[in-house]
């Protein structure tokens, strides 16, 4: 340990030196959190009440942005509705399919690791690569989707070009990438002690009974985590729309994130409106995750230690 010897006796006391070192270590992060979080939040909170195009100085207009959003903006409510639809379709399907796969693959048999790898594979691929691939899959003429459907004598679809199918088509891509949720559930399932199952079996419980009476209650904490993560991410979905549909057809896939992006960086930058919308999104996410966490005690199983 000679290598660690340091010259004895610096002017500072041990405690003082510790504090200085610690602040040097976290200095980059303090700068980061100030410049990239605190300042932008304050700036947004101010600019939401201004007319601001990013070039000329912002002009205070009070609640104008909010009044415009609520009453005059033709795409505000449709985009909120599209976002709600997306969240309601994608979050539960992620949890249900993720859990189903995890239960299926929570076995010790030869080859199970290969299956886990295959199901996890889409999660690793870059989102743009995946989305552009699916854009081609959904092509009504040349795409794989319709080709397979017609081979199976099933009705085909216009997919992304149909106002009714565009959103489900986007959600299907998310289900394809359900491996991430599967891995989290798998880790949770493997924490369920085998003794509990053994005891239940001696009492004559069947597989289905054991799943609903033991497995499901014990993994509710993981489910809560998935739910909160899923909600936060779903409300901020953007790439899908930017790559696949540009919000169309009509406003059927205009997710709120995409609307904010278009208002901020589109042909007619309206940064005041966009920051106001971003704040609304923030508040919606806070309220929904808050309600989820508050009501979770009703269904999340607490271990008694």
């Amino acid at each position: 340990m000679e290598a660690f010897a340091r010259p004895a006796g610096r002017g500072l006391s041990h405690r003082r030196r510790n504090t200085v070192t610690a602040y040097l270590f976290i200095l980059p992060t303090i700068v980061g959190v100030t410049v990239f979080m605190v300042y932008p939040l304050i700036s947004s909170a101010f600019h939401a009440f201004t007319k601001w195009d990013g070039l000329s100085p912002a002009r205070w207009t009070g609640l104008d942005n909010f009044r415009y959003m609520l009453f005059d903006d033709p795409t505000f409510w449709p985009s909120l509705r599209a976002t709600a639809y997306f969240v309601l379709l994608s979050v539960p399907s992620g949890i249900i399919f993720g859990l189903a796969l995890a239960v299926l693959l929570n076995r010790v048999v030869p080859g199970v690791k290969l299956y886990r790898t295959i199901f996890y594979l889409p999660v690793v691929l870059p989102s743009i690569a995946v989305l552009t691939l699916w854009k081609y899959i959904y092509d009504p003429l040349y795409g794989l989707a319709n080709q397979l459907l017609s081979d199976l004598r099933l009705p085909t679809s216009q997919w992304l070009q149909s106002p009714h199918m565009a959103m489900p088509a986007i959600v299907i891509i998310g289900v394809w990438g359900v491996g991430g949720s599967m891995i989290i559930f798998l880790a949770g399932l493997q924490n369920v002690p085998v003794e509990v199952y053994e005891a239940a079996r001696t009492d004559g419980a069947g597989t289905v009974r054991m799943f609903f009476a033991i497995t499901l209650p014990l993994i509710t904490p993981i489910m809560l985590l998935q739910l909160v993560l899923g909600l936060v991410l779903a409300f901020q979905a953007f790439n899908q729309v930017a790559v696949l549909t540009n919000g169309g057809p009509g406003t059927s896939t205009t997710l709120f994130m995409y609307k904010i992006y278009s208002d901020a960086f589109g042909s007619y930058p309206n940064l005041g409106l966009a920051t106001a919308e971003a704040l609304i999104l923030f508040v919606i996410i806070m309220i929904i995750t808050g309600v989820t966490l508050k009501t979770s005690s009703m269904w999340v199983f607490e271990e008694t230690k």
Partner: protein, 311 residues
């Protein structure tokens, strides 16, 4: 309904290390070894069917990447290429100056991975292992920023870089990562907290300062932690689309995500270079795939740990 305590505790140094395989090292109940309602054969059938369904889009992509030009607009579309046109892997990338975009992406990714891992490791170490006034305050502030959606901060930050004349440069993509990543700091703090105090106390008695303890002792001890962070940071940067979209204008500065989206957007029946496109797209997927196969255990557990460590 009372249950015995269930948490499996791994030795602290292995908390992020997936090597104690989540299943195989534990006693297996009969019920899991022999499926009850499904026979083993139908389990394999079901899993294989699902696996094939998952893989079909990728296999189809490979098939298109190999199709000759004349095959692309053929109706009904063919599942397999008539002949294999390997030159797609040369001509496709040429279309978007793939080597240039690759170099751009590698530069941006390498710098932001280094920046975020280094700055977050330092912050995580300081918060976990140095007692100093304000450490809880800073930790809570860093953690809080995890919950602020990116779009709220994006607009002011974009204006900031605009005022600094840094639009259409890579600085906005790289610079922020040098100032700590809140999720990484959270992970690092957890991990550093689990390392026994006696380790650095003895080094301290020998006269080592925190910098020496950090670089000589902690970095080797926390290999699983920073490998995990590196993988996550690599993925985030390699896949990032929104930031390049907001900050980059000239195509010569594009990253691959932007270049690929642009390439696909320009394709239609008039310029049916879908085979070129898919060949390039496969090349774009390759680095994360290679990383995945080499670092598979870290990949699988990166997410898994997040789920379990909350207990």
């Amino acid at each position: 309904m009372t249950m015995p305590a269930t948490t499996t505790t791994y030795p602290p140094s292995q908390r992020l290390d997936p090597s104690p395989d989540l299943v195989t090292k534990r006693r297996i109940p009969l019920s899991r070894r022999v499926p009850m309602t499904l026979s083993r054969v139908s389990w394999y059938l079901l899993c294989s069917l699902l696996a094939v369904t998952m893989l079909v889009p990728l296999l189809w992509m490979i098939s298109i990447a190999l199709k000759p030009d004349s095959n692309i607009l053929q109706l009904p579309p063919q599942l397999l290429p008539r002949t294999f046109q390997w030159s797609n892997f040369i001509r496709g990338p040429e279309q978007i100056q793939f080597p240039l975009l690759l170099a751009n992406t590698v530069t941006v990714t390498a710098l932001s991975v280094f920046g975020s891992v280094a700055s977050s490791m330092l912050a995580g170490y300081a918060i976990a292992r140095i007692r100093f006034p304000g450490r809880n305050f800073w930790f809570y502030l860093f953690t809080f920023s995890i919950f602020v959606p990116g779009i709220v901060t994006l607009i002011p930050i974009q204006r900031m870089f605009f005022a600094m004349h840094l639009i259409d440069t890579w600085f906005p993509l790289i610079l922020p990562s040098f100032f700590g990543n809140p999720v990484f700091i959270f992970l690092a703090r957890q991990y550093f907290t689990s390392i026994p105090r006696s380790i650095d106390e003895s080094a301290m008695i020998d006269g080592a300062g925190h910098w020496k303890i950090f670089t000589r002792l902690m970095i080797p001890l926390t290999k699983p932690l920073w490998i995990t962070m590196t993988i996550m940071a690599f993925q985030a940067s390699w896949n990032d689309f929104l930031n390049p979209l907001v900050y980059l204008n000239s195509e010569s500065k594009y990253t691959l995500s932007l270049g690929m989206a642009n390439f696909m957007g320009g394709l239609n029946e008039a310029t049916p270079q879908f085979n070129y496109y898919m060949a390039s797209n496969l090349l774009y997927m390759l680095p994360p795939l290679v990383l995945f196969f080499f670092a598979q255990r870290y990949f699988m557990m990166g997410l898994g740990t997040l789920g379990v460590s909350q207990k």
